[in-house]
């Protein structure tokens, strides 16, 4: 079985400050981890993924994510938040035995000017 937990329903941050959106996962095999963003009235957009190798993964729009095996976490980060980053963020996991991508319930990010 595989699952993802996003412990925060909402994260608020001021523009220009660093942001972190938290994600922890549970898989029985090797984890393949993904972050997606969903803007209002738009589809889910792929941001980045972790397969293997470097624990710090860089993605689109200046986002990065840090994989921590011992803590089973894959937190999304950005050094300096923009108002336009305000959206719904989903963490997802797949293991190496299946096809299904299992999503968390999402975290709403609000960046204020």
């Amino acid at each position: 079985a595989q699952s993802v937990a996003q412990p925060e329903d909402q994260v608020n941050v001021a523009e220009g400050n660093p942001l972190t959106v938290k994600c922890t996962y549970s898989v029985s095999g090797n984890p393949y981890l993904f972050w997606y963003v969903q803007y209002p009235n738009r589809g889910l957009q792929f941001l980045l993924k972790y397969i293997t190798g470097d624990n710090l993964v860089k993605g689109s729009y200046g986002f990065e994510a840090e994989f921590n095996k011992s803590q089973t976490s894959f937190h999304l980060k950005k050094p300096s938040a923009l108002v336009s980053d305000s959206a719904l963020y989903f963490c997802a996991v797949r293991d190496d035995s299946g096809y299904a991508l299992n999503f968390g319930k999402g975290t709403s990010l609000l960046v204020t000017p």
């Binding site: 993802v4 393949y32 997606y36 589809g43 997802a92 299946g98 096809y99 299904a100 299992n102 999503f103």
Partner: protein
């Protein structure tokens, strides 16, 4: 456009009616997924195709749900005898890759409302 296209964008069905939702994946994409997203929740996996083969249908909630991709491109998700709990956004996604590392590119979804 070059993205995943879904139609219709919105569908209102009377309870008991059959519906068909269409997905046009990105050209050349081998993998195709269907997901169901209820309000305020993350997407839930329904089924997976690799070309025309349906390799995983473990997420289909009942035998009223049926998906096909006969020529390995366009896919249709059919729901028979719709019920109110079927109301959700149905998302289609495709990937050029196969295997666990594949990232999927999503369409905007079809919002189904059963009344």
């Amino acid at each position: 456009g070059a993205g995943v296209s879904q139609s219709p964008r919105y569908k209102v069905a009377k309870r008991g009616q059959d519906v068909a939702l269409r997905c046009d994946p990105i050209s050349g994409h081998v993998s195709l997924f269907w997901y169901q997203q209820a309000l305020g929740q993350g997407p839930e996996f329904l089924t997976y195709f690799q070309n025309e083969a349906q390799l995983d249908k473990s997420g289909l909630p009942s035998d009223r749900f049926f998906a096909e991709r006969p020529e390995g491109s366009v896919s249709t998700l059919k729901i028979q005898r719709t019920q109110q709990e079927d109301s959700a956004v149905y998302l289609c996604a495709s990937s050029v890759r196969q295997g666990p590392s594949m990232e999927a590119f999503f369409g905007q979804g079809t919002r189904l409302t059963v009344v």
